[in-house]
C-alpha cells in the first residue's frame, strides 16, 4: 500500500481550520483510512469517572467496543497511559514496550479488542510542557501497516492534538454548533430532562450506569455545564435536543 502524502496534507490543512471536534475527527479518519487505519481515540486524561475540567476526549472507536470497554470497567486497568508516560514514544499494541509488563486481565482486554476488530493499534503519546499528556490511539484490522504508515499516524496525531486543544480552548457557550453532541449524549440528556436517574437511563437504553455517567460527563464538558441538569437545559436551549 503506497502512501498518498497529499491526503496527509489535506488533513493538516483541515486541522488548522477546523472549528469543531467532530470535523477534525471525521477528517482524521478519512486520511487514516489511506494508511490502513479505521478507528481512533484521543484523550488527555485517563480517569473517566472524574474527567478534569480541561479534559479532551474524542472517541471514534467501534460503538460495540466502546460499550464493552465502559461496561467492563476497562479504563481502570487500561495500560495505555502508563506506558505512554514511561516511554513518551509511539508504541504499537504488539510491541515489547506494551506487552512486556501486562497482567492477564490486560492481555485479555487486548484479545477482546482484537475480536471487536481492533487487530492492530498504535498509541502516540503527545507531551507538551504545561499541558496534560495526551494519547492518540489509532487502530485497524490491517496487520500490515508499514513503517511509513506508522510515521504518518504519528504526524497526523500531533496535528489532531493541536487542533483539538485549540478548538476546546476557544469553545464559546454562545456558539453551540461547536459542541456536536453524539447521538448517545443527546439520548442521555433527553432522559435527564425527563427527570430520570443514571440507573434508570441505563435500563431504558440498555447500557450500564457507568456508561451513562460517561456520556453525561462528556456532554457536560462539551456544553460547559457543571451539572447534568444544566447540561440538559443548555442542550434544549441550543436545540441540540428537543424538550
Amino acid at each position: 500500500m503506497t502512501l498518498d502524502f497529499s491526503k496527509i496534507e489535506d488533513f493538516t490543512e483541515t486541522a488548522k481550520r477546523a472549528s469543531s471536534l467532530d470535523e477534525i475527527a471525521t477528517a482524521f479518519l478519512l486520511a487514516a483510512k489511506d494508511f490502513g487505519f479505521d478507528s481512533f481515540s484521543m484523550s488527555n486524561f485517563s480517569d473517566f469517572d472524574n474527567p478534569p475540567a480541561d479534559g479532551i476526549n474524542i472517541d471514534r472507536f467501534p460503538p460495540e467496543w466502546v460499550k464493552q470497554y465502559y461496561e467492563g470497567g476497562y479504563s481502570a486497568y487500561d495500560p495505555t497511559f502508563k506506558v505512554a508516560l514511561r516511554n513518551n514514544l509511539p508504541f504499537t499494541w504488539h510491541s515489547e514496550a506494551l506487552r512486556s509488563d501486562l497482567t492477564d486481565q490486560q492481555t485479555g482486554m487486548y484479545e477482546e479488542a482484537e475480536l471487536a476488530g481492533l487487530k492492530f493499534g498504535v498509541s502516540v503519546p503527545i507531551s507538551l510542557v504545561g499541558s496534560p499528556m495526551a494519547v492518540v490511539s489509532v487502530c485497524g484490522d490491517n496487520l500490515d501497516v508499514s513503517p511509513a504508515g506508522l510515521h504518518a499516524a504519528h504526524l497526523m496525531a500531533i496535528y489532531l492534538h493541536a487542533a483539538a486543544v485549540r478548538i476546546s480552548q476557544r469553545r464559546d457557550w454562545s456558539e453551540p454548533s461547536a459542541t456536536a453532541l453524539s447521538p448517545r449524549e443527546q439520548e442521555c440528556l433527553r432522559w435527564v430532562s425527563a427527570g430520570k436517574t443514571n440507573w434508570e437511563i441505563g435500563r431504558i437504553l440498555d447500557i450500564s450506569d457507568n456508561t451513562v455517567h460517561y456520556h453525561l460527563e462528556r456532554a457536560k464538558r462539551k456544553l460547559g455545564a457543571t451539572t447534568r441538569a444544566q447540561a440538559a437545559v443548555r442542550a434544549i436551549l441550543s436545540s441540540e435536543i428537543a424538550p
Binding site: 493538516t12 507538551l128 510515521h151 504519528h154 504526524l155 500531533i158
Partner: protein, 206 residues
C-alpha cells in the same frame, strides 16, 4: 535581546560567532549526540559561510545564550543539500523562502523556564526578521518531538514529507507561512509587547 547578524555586519560579531560555534558543539555534539562534523570543539558546517544570517540571543553582559541560523533557500542549505529526503515533493526554494536551522538555547542559570524564554525570543526575532526581509515562508527540519510546541505557538506549519529516522532521531521537514498576523499572534501568546531584535551597523562611514 536578539542581535541580528547579516553578511553586512558580521565583521562586528567575530567574538560572538565564536561563542556560538562552541555552544553549538556543546549542545548538538556533546549533549544531543548529533552526527555532524566539528573541529576544535566548534560545530560549524559548510552552510556557516559568508551569506549566512544569524539571530544571537545575548544577555546583559553581551554573552551569547542562544542562537539560530537563517539561510535564504536560493543558497545551498540543509534541506536542499543534506535532508532532501524529508521532502515528498521538490525542496521549496525561492528568494522569499528562508531556512531556520541550528537553533539552541543555553541560559547560564535557570532550568526549563529560562530555556523557553530564550527560545520564544528567538522565535519572535525570526518573525521580525521575516517581516523586515520579505520572508513569506520558513523551512525547518526538526525532531518530531518538538513539533507539538511549534504548533502550540500558533505557527502556520505544514509538513513537507513524512517523518523519517535519520541518525537515530525521527525528523520531519515543515514549512511555516509567515504573515504580519504571525507576529501579532506570537506576541499575544507570549505576552511580548516590544521588538526583540536589534541591528548593529558599523559606526564608520562606508
Amino acid at each position: 535581546m536578539i542581535d541580528l547578524v547579516t553578511p553586512e555586519n558580521r565583521h562586528l560579531y567575530s567574538n560572538e560567532l565564536e561563542q556560538m560555534w562552541r555552544q553549538r558543539y556543546e549542545v548538538f555534539v556533546q549533549k544531543l549526540g548529533w552526527d555532524v562534523q566539528s573541529e576544535n570543539q566548534r560545530e560549524i558546517d559548510q552552510f556557516d559561510g559568508e551569506s549566512a544570517n544569524y539571530l544571537l540571543a545575548v544577555d546583559d553582559s553581551r554573552d551569547v545564550i542562544g542562537a539560530t541560523r537563517i539561510i535564504q533557500t536560493t543558497e545551498p542549505h540543509l534541506l536542499s543539500d543534506v535532508f532532501a529526503e524529508l521532502c515528498e515533493n521538490a525542496v521549496p526554494r525561492g528568494e522569499s523562502i528562508w531556512e531556520l536551522s541550528r537553533a539552541y538555547w543555553l541560559p547560564k542559570h535557570g532550568g526549563y523556564d529560562a530555556r523557553i524564554k530564550i527560545a520564544n525570543e528567538l522565535m519572535c526575532g525570526a518573525v521580525e526578521f521575516a517581516l523586515l526581509f520579505d520572508v513569506t515562508q520558513f523551512t525547518i527540519e526538526i525532531d518530531i518531538d518538538d513539533l507539538p510546541r511549534f504548533l502550540s505557538l500558533g505557527w502556520d506549519t505544514s509538513p513537507l514529507g513524512l517523518p523519517k529516522e535519520i541518525g537515530g532521531t525521527t525528523m520531519v521537514a515543515s514549512i511555516v507561512n509567515i504573515t504580519p498576523a504571525t507576529l501579532t499572534n506570537m506576541r499575544t501568546a507570549l505576552n511580548v509587547k516590544v521588538p526583540v531584535m536589534r541591528y548593529m551597523q558599523s559606526a564608520s562611514a562606508a
